[in-house]
C-alpha cells in the first residue's frame, strides 16, 4: 500500500475482504470439478441489485455458472474496481477523469437504464406537470407554494392548494441523486451555480430520506410533498408521478419506453468503450418522446484481464466475457421485470464492439 492508493483503498478494504470471503465461500460450494474461482464476483450500485440478482439466477439456469454480486454502492464498486478486487463493478455514475486515470485500461459498458421519477402527495391532485426550470426552482427553495403562478400555468386543470411544498430528497449518497442533480444542472443555471451535481449535494431545502424507500415513506407521510424516486420503486410505493416537459416541449410520463428512447437519442455521441465516459449523460435529450431524467448504469471491467495475476485464467476470462455479453444481449429482456428500461439496439452493438477489446495476456478473449 503506497501513497494515495493506500489512503483511498482503506475504506474499500472491509468491503474487499467481504467480497473475497464471499468469493471463496462460493468456490467451495461450486463442486463440479471446476477450478478455483469459478464463481464470478461483482460489486457496486445498489440500484442494479434487483436486475443483476435476477440475471444471475437466469444465467445460472442457462449456463450453469454463478455470479455473485455485492451491492455495496457505486462508490464502493468503483473503489473495488480500482483496487482490482472484483471481476466486474457496476456503477450509476461513469468514472470521473481522475478515477479513469487511476484505473487505466478500464472499459465502460452500459448495461441498463434507470429512470428517475418525481413522486408527489397532494390530496385531490392526481395529475401534475413540471418543467425543468420550475423543478429546479422548487428544489432551490425559490418556489415554495403549490399555488405558485408558474405551477398553475403548467397545470391549468389541477386544483393546486395554497400549501407549502414539502421537498424530499435522498439523505444517503446515491446514483439516483446523481442523475436528478445532473438533470437540474443542465436545465437551470442557478442550480448549476449554487448546487451542481454529484452523488450527494448540499441541498438548499427539504428533508432527507434514506434510500428510495425512505424518500417514498416521507412523501407518503407528508401531505403536499414532492420528491424524486427511482422508477422501479415508485409503483410498489403507490405514489403518483409527474410528467416532465422535455426539450421538444412535450410532457412525458416516466415509462420504460420513454427511457429507452432517451438513450437511443444519445447513441451518436457515445464514446467507444475504452474511452472516458465522464461526459456521458442523456438527461434532457432532444428526442420528442424521450423522458428527460434517466441514465445508464455501467459495468466497469479491465481491457486486459491478465492484470489480475494468478486469480485470472483464460477460462475465467472467457467466463467473465460470456457473462457480460449475455447480460447486455439476452439478459436485456429481463429489464422490464424490475422496471428498468432495456438498452436500445445500437447500444448493444456498441457493447459487443467493446467486449471484443477484452484481452487475456494480450490475446483476444471473445473469439466466438
Amino acid at each position: 500500500m503506497t501513497g494515495a492508493d493506500g489512503r483511498f483503498g482503506r475504506v474499500a478494504r472491509f468491503a474487499t475482504i467481504a467480497i473475497v470471503l464471499a468469493g471463496l465461500a462460493g468456490c467451495g460450494g461450486d463442486g463440479e470439478g471446476s477450478t478455483r474461482g469459478a464463481m464470478l464476483t461483482g460489486a457496486g450500485a445498489t440500484f442494479a441489485m434487483p436486475l443483476i440478482t435476477l440475471w444471475s439466477s437466469q444465467y445460472e439456469a442457462v449456463e450453469g455458472r454463478r455470479v455473485n454480486y455485492n451491492s455495496i454502492g457505486s462508490g464502493g464498486g468503483i473503489r473495488a474496481h480500482i483496487d482490482g478486487t472484483v471481476d466486474f463493478a457496476a456503477t450509476e455514475a461513469p468514472l470521473t477523469v481522475e478515477q479513469f486515470q487511476r484505473a487505466e485500461g478500464t472499459l465502460t459498458i452500459p448495461f441498463t437504464i434507470g429512470t428517475v421519477t418525481l413522486a408527489y402527495n397532494i390530496p385531490g391532485v392526481d395529475e401534475l406537470r413540471f418543467s425543468g426550470e420550475v423543478l429546479a426552482e422548487i428544489f432551490l427553495g425559490e418556489i415554495t407554494r403549490w399555488n405558485h403562478p408558474q405551477l398553475q400555468e403548467l397545470n391549468p386543470d389541477a386544483q393546486l392548494p395554497d400549501q407549502r411544498i414539502v421537498v424530499v430528497h435522498r439523505s444517503d449518497g446515491s446514483g439516483t441523486t446523481y442523475v436528478f442533480t445532473d438533470y437540474l444542472t443542465k436545465v437551470s443555471e442557478a442550480w448549476a451555480d449554487r448546487v451542481g451535481y454529484s452523488t450527494s449535494v448540499a441541498w438548499p431545502v427539504g428533508i432527507g430520506g434514506n434510500g428510495n424507500e425512505g424518500v417514498g415513506g416521507a412523501i407518503r407521510n407528508n401531505p403536499h410533498s414532492l420528491g424524486y424516486v427511482e422508477l422501479s420503486y415508485v409503483n410498489s410505493l403507490g405514489l403518483p408521478t409527474a410528467a416532465i416537459r422535455n426539450r421538444a416541449g412535450n410532457f412525458v410520463q416516466p415509462t420504460l419506453e420513454a427511457g429507452t428512447a432517451a438513450a437511443a437519442a444519445s447513441v451518436d455521441e457515445l464514446p467507444a468503450g475504452h474511452e472516458s465516459w465522464h461526459e456521458v449523460s442523456f438527461t434532457d435529450p432532444e428526442a420528442a418522446d424521450a423522458y428527460p431524467i434517466s441514465s445508464f448504469s455501467y459495468y466497469l471491467v479491465y481491457e486486459e484481464l491478465g492484470r489480475a495475476g494468478d486469480r485470472m485464467t483464460r477460462q475465467r476470462a472467457e467466463n467473465i466475457v460470456r457473462w457480460l455479453e449475455w447480460s447486455v444481449t439476452e439478459g436485456q429482456q429481463y429489464n422490464n421485470d424490475v422496471e428498468n428500461a432495456a438498452l436500445p439496439e445500437s447500444v448493444r452493438q456498441l457493447n459487443l464492439e467493446t467486449l471484443d477489446r477484452i484481452r487475456f495476456n494480450g490475446e483476444q478473449v471473445r473469439t466466438w
Binding site: R7, G75, T199, G208
Partner: protein
C-alpha cells in the same frame, strides 16, 4: 504438566486482551491516517467550518458536532429524571414481587435493536411529534426559548432526541440502580432513626452518597446517545447546514457518515467523513473514560 497448561492459558487470555487493545489502537490509527488529507487541507479549522458541499469539495464538521451535542444533550435531559425515578422505585419502593419483573422489562428495552426504534420513530413518533408535541411546546412558555423555532416536519432534532432518550433510559436506569444499591444500609437506617422522613433520607443521604455514581451513569448514557447511528439517521431529517433549532431537521456525526460514506467518490470526501469519525471516536473515548474513572472512585471509596 499442570503448570504448563496454566501458563499457556495465561498467555492465551493475555493475547486476547492485547488483541482488543490492538484493535482499538488500529481503528484510531486508520481513522487518523484515512483523514489526513482533510487535516492537511484545513487543519483544526475543519472542526469549526460549517460548509459541507461534496460537489465543490468544501467540508466542515461543525453542523454535525452541534447536531450530535444538541440531540444527545436533550436526550440526557429527558432521560435522566425518568431513569432516576425508575432506579429509586426499584431500589426503595417497589415490593419484591414487582421488582424483578420491572427490572426485566427495563433491561429488555435495552435489547431492542436500534433499527426497530428508528422504524417506530418514523411511523409513530414523527407524526405525533409533528402534529401534537411540537405545536404544544411552541405554544407553551418553553416556545419562547430560541432553541424552539417554528415547528417543521416530523423529522427533527427534537424527534431524534426523544428516540435517543428512550434508548438510553434502560442504561442509565440499570446503572443508577446498581449505584443506589451500593449505598450502605446503615447510612439510610441511621437517617431514618434520627427522625428523617423517607423522602429526606432519600434526598440527603442516599442521593448525595450516590451522586458521583449517578453522574457517571449519566455520562455512560450520554456516550451511548453520541454513538447511536441507525435510529438517529432515520429520524433526524438529515439536513445539511448549521442549526440550533430543535424543531428543524438536522444532522449528526453518525448520520452523515452512515449516509454518505458508501457513495463518496472523491478522496477528500471520504477523508472528511473519516475525520468526523475520528472526532466522534475521541469524544466518546473521553466521555467514557471520564464515566469509568468516576465509577472506579465510587467503588474504591465504598470498599
Amino acid at each position: 504438566m499442570d503448570g504448563i497448561r496454566r501458563r499457556w492459558f495465561r498467555y492465551l487470555t493475555g493475547t486476547m486482551a492485547v488483541v482488543v487493545l490492538a484493535a482499538a489502537a488500529l481503528i484510531l490509527y486508520e481513522l487518523w491516517a484515512g483523514s489526513l488529507p482533510t487535516w492537511r487541507e484545513w487543519g483544526l479549522s475543519f472542526i469549526w467550518r460549517t460548509e459541507w458541499d461534496p460537489v465543490r469539495g468544501e467540508f466542515g464538521a461543525l453542523p454535525f458536532i452541534v447536531g450530535t451535542m444538541l440531540t444527545s444533550g436533550m436526550a440526557l435531559l429527558i432521560a435522566l429524571p425518568v431513569s432516576l425515578g425508575i432506579a429509586i422505585l426499584l431500589t426503595e419502593y417497589a415490593p419484591r414481587v414487582l421488582r424483578d419483573p420491572l427490572i426485566f422489562i427495563v433491561e429488555l428495552l435495552a435489547a431492542v435493536p436500534s433499527v426497530v426504534f428508528g422504524l417506530w420513530g418514523i411511523f409513530v413518533l414523527a407524526p405525533v411529534v409533528q402534529q401534537h408535541v411540537m405545536p404544544f411546546v411552541a405554544g407553551s412558555p418553553l416556545g419562547l426559548l430560541p432553541i424552539f423555532g417554528e415547528p417543521g416536519p416530523g423529522y427533527t432534532l427534537f424527534t431524534a432526541s426523544l428516540i435517543l432518550a428512550i434508548m438510553i433510559i434502560p442504561i442509565i436506569a440499570s446503572l443508577s440502580r446498581e449505584v443506589l444499591m451500593t449505598v450502605p444500609r446503615e447510612q439510610k437506617e441511621g437517617a431514618l432513626a434520627l427522625g428523617a422522613t423517607r423522602w429526606e433520607a432519600m434526598r440527603h443521604v442516599v442521593l448525595s452518597y450516590a451522586k458521583p455514581g449517578l453522574f457517571s451513569a449519566a455520562v455512560l448514557g450520554l456516550g451511548r446517545a453520541l454513538g447511536e447511528t441507525m435510529a438517529t439517521t432515520m429520524t433526524i431529517g438529515n439536513r445539511l447546514g448549521l442549526t440550533f433549532d430543535y424543531f428543524e431537521s438536522g444532522n449528526s456525526m453518525t448520520a452523515i457518515i452512515a449516509n454518505e460514506l458508501r457513495e463518496a467518490a472523491s478522496e477528500i470526501h471520504v477523508s472528511s467523513l473519516m475525520a468526523i469519525g475520528l472526532v466522534l471516536f475521541l469524544l466518546s473515548f473521553v466521555l467514557n473514560t471520564l464515566g469509568r474513572l468516576i465509577v472506579m472512585r465510587v467503588h474504591t471509596g465504598a470498599a
